[in-house]
Symmetry: C4
Subunit: 273 residues, 4 copies
Amino acid sequence: MKPESTGLRRQLYEIIFEADTPAGRRFDILLIGCILASVVVVMLDSVHEIAAEYYSLLHFAEWVFTAIFTVEYLLRLYSIQKPWRYATSFFGVVDLLAILPTFIALLLPGAQFLLVIRILRVLRVFRVLKLAQHLSEAQVLAKALKASQRKIQVFIAGVLSLVVILGSLMYLIEGEAGGFTSIPRSMYWAIVTLTTVGYGDISPKTPWGQALASVVMILGYAIIAVPTGIVSAELSQATLRGRPPVDQRACPGCGVEGHGSEAKFCQRCGTAL
Amino acid sequence: MKPESTGLRRQLYEIIFEADTPAGRRFDILLIGCILASVVVVMLDSVHEIAAEYYSLLHFAEWVFTAIFTVEYLLRLYSIQKPWRYATSFFGVVDLLAILPTFIALLLPGAQFLLVIRILRVLRVFRVLKLAQHLSEAQVLAKALKASQRKIQVFIAGVLSLVVILGSLMYLIEGEAGGFTSIPRSMYWAIVTLTTVGYGDISPKTPWGQALASVVMILGYAIIAVPTGIVSAELSQATLRGRPPVDQRACPGCGVEGHGSEAKFCQRCGTAL
Amino acid sequence: MKPESTGLRRQLYEIIFEADTPAGRRFDILLIGCILASVVVVMLDSVHEIAAEYYSLLHFAEWVFTAIFTVEYLLRLYSIQKPWRYATSFFGVVDLLAILPTFIALLLPGAQFLLVIRILRVLRVFRVLKLAQHLSEAQVLAKALKASQRKIQVFIAGVLSLVVILGSLMYLIEGEAGGFTSIPRSMYWAIVTLTTVGYGDISPKTPWGQALASVVMILGYAIIAVPTGIVSAELSQATLRGRPPVDQRACPGCGVEGHGSEAKFCQRCGTAL
Amino acid sequence: MKPESTGLRRQLYEIIFEADTPAGRRFDILLIGCILASVVVVMLDSVHEIAAEYYSLLHFAEWVFTAIFTVEYLLRLYSIQKPWRYATSFFGVVDLLAILPTFIALLLPGAQFLLVIRILRVLRVFRVLKLAQHLSEAQVLAKALKASQRKIQVFIAGVLSLVVILGSLMYLIEGEAGGFTSIPRSMYWAIVTLTTVGYGDISPKTPWGQALASVVMILGYAIIAVPTGIVSAELSQATLRGRPPVDQRACPGCGVEGHGSEAKFCQRCGTAL
């Protein structure tokens, strides 16, 4: 049963939440343009030379984008049937976080850089471009990652224990001289080394320290094989099982997407689709 | 046949070793809280600014935790049927190592930092949280690693030979100037490079040295594929074979866990479960 | 139906485009020698000490090679039936790019270093050496990469969003002191860290910055598993499916290769093979 | 048909080449001890502080070991039926290289460090320890690597082309200031970055350079997945196919090992086993 709604609300809903109609599509493309532009503005604002010269322009652009996104957010709340459900969904929270920092920055300078969270809104792009295929690929990825979640938790717990022990050993062996001034700092070194990042800001100077570091690196070499192996194995299986069909309808109740193609009601709030 | 034991010993055993009863569970959670807190104390103790200000407090906390763990260790020995078996099992040794360093530190300052070994005791957490699933995942991981053990040994032997030869070559090519002051130090460089850690504390300066380094890096690139491939292949098979059911009973004789669900006697000491 | 062409044009075509006749093979080997030599000349030209001493020699060699390649390009255009098709194909564009920079360098000094693009011409080597096997292997690789293309796009989009957010966070936490002078620069750091390259030119100095960096590194560790898993899974399947037979005939119309062994007409321009 | 040989030669052969008899085993273990000790001596010789103090001792040990290995090499040549075949086999060449540098060092100081090549002789350890299992694992590894050889060749060719082009681009963008003083040096940087080693001895300073470097790193991220995927896929298949039985007999003709268990004649020289 279709929800009865006033013509305007219903029309707004279709433009803002759906991407099937020409108007809805144009709206989404415009929105993504605004999002990308606003993220670029935030970035430029953080570069001294540019901020010094174009201060007022950037400031103005930031407020314009915030105004646009605020209006859009209010329209979303107005046009949807269950505003609270939308506001507490993933994209609802992101949409709010995308406007809050500008206002917070009035009290707390620097907060405006948090606006980069807006980039998350761009993930809607997959819907606009009708990239259903991409969505289903993302689902295969997400499924494989979820299936290997527990193995990865066990793995991370093991790695962290190793980091604590190796970091402490290194602290005892190298001490102050090599830059290992405390156990937490040595643990930072252990993570930098085990993950093969290797900044080199802290590195062992004594022969014994270098010997232990060599063992840590060989260990890291062996360890890096584990998560890769886990994900490979799960992905192999997920790929074999094939891809699930993806439906692009947004729930008129709460705006959530990703229902199966036979679904008649929203998984999250029960509204008829 | 159930072992006959005095009521107190039996009760203590159930609280300390089992996690099925409410009392046993509360004990385990409290214990893990103590362990994490004591590891944090050891870490803070190694940070100069904090140690200077809160010296006596940290010192006091360390002794309190050691006292708690000592009492716990003695109770474990008392309540179990075969104390020696427990004392020589993996967790028995860890439990002892978790209290020794505090006493050793009276004679040998600095030894208290070895207390971080306590972190290993936290691995019991998997039992407390009834994460049987996690345990079985850990077993799949362990199994795959064990199955690929020999391949990895051959691989490590090959890598070490390569490290000796590449390190010596680099020592001859670069010499003192580039920081390659001895063969062991050049071997350290070779490990840093082959594992793609790349600190940059030692790096070739001459064109020939950089040419050899380039070859070493491409080699490391190819080599890193091998352990990953080994673990992936084994994990694929282990995942296909499915997960074995896991039993959570601890042996009343020696405290070892991980018996199959149909096991009637402990694998390690033969006590009836 | 074979295209009728004058004897000379046909003969030139067979020498320049085919590698089946002895003359064609000799031509290709000579050509690859010239290409490699010319790339080495460009490289040497960029080394100050060498360029200072042998300036006129290198300059002369560069013009000789450019002359050779220009003549060759014109002959290719002349001998083929559909010159425009060839000129707009991949190798046609590369062949043009391999001669243009020398002329551009007359107006714009420095442009001659773009001549290294010539190295792409060497990819023809696989045809000369009759490495049909290598070609089919390359096709398996390309196929697997193409099959995993969408998953990799989703993955890259996710990584880039992460880079924007982590870079901004780090900019707020570390600020100027640690070298994180702007958000773009912090994003550069985030990429250096996530990919486990770890130059160390920018690295966190404050405890909170190091804590966040540790999280980023562990994340990078988990993330690196994903593309590997994707490619492994696809390659496993591609390997199982077996290798397609590869045909070495070049199209007499546009010079494109890689047709199936039963193909009678060129896939690109429809000329009979 | 067993080869007829004088008692002494035959006995020497069994002691030196075989590991089945108690005498043969004791010989092999002693030999490996000597090899490891002599490699350690070479390493210590390269450490200034140690070499200064124990110069004559190390020098003496080096000559003793060289004498032992020379005698052993001559005995090997004497006891085997086809000395030339042995001398040109892999281990024959290694055995010779293990003694030559000491003599060369009389004329050319520094050559003695090449003695570390002796480490390769230790690979015989697998035979001594009766690690037939390890040998068969090594064969599975070698087989998988061989099966993926062509794919890896194509891959390395592609990576090298990329390195030439990216290095030249970076040379044009960054120039002298950032340390990119020539194309070969920029190529070195490109390899350091693509392989995710990241020393940081050369790193881009300009925004455009950092942007290109970011692209290179993301590329390296994607590229590293390829060799891993190749080896994983081949190893998966090799593991499925099972392990071939391994035979430990050395050929009395040329000393080569690794024949199938049903082999009656040596693969290399045709002598009856």
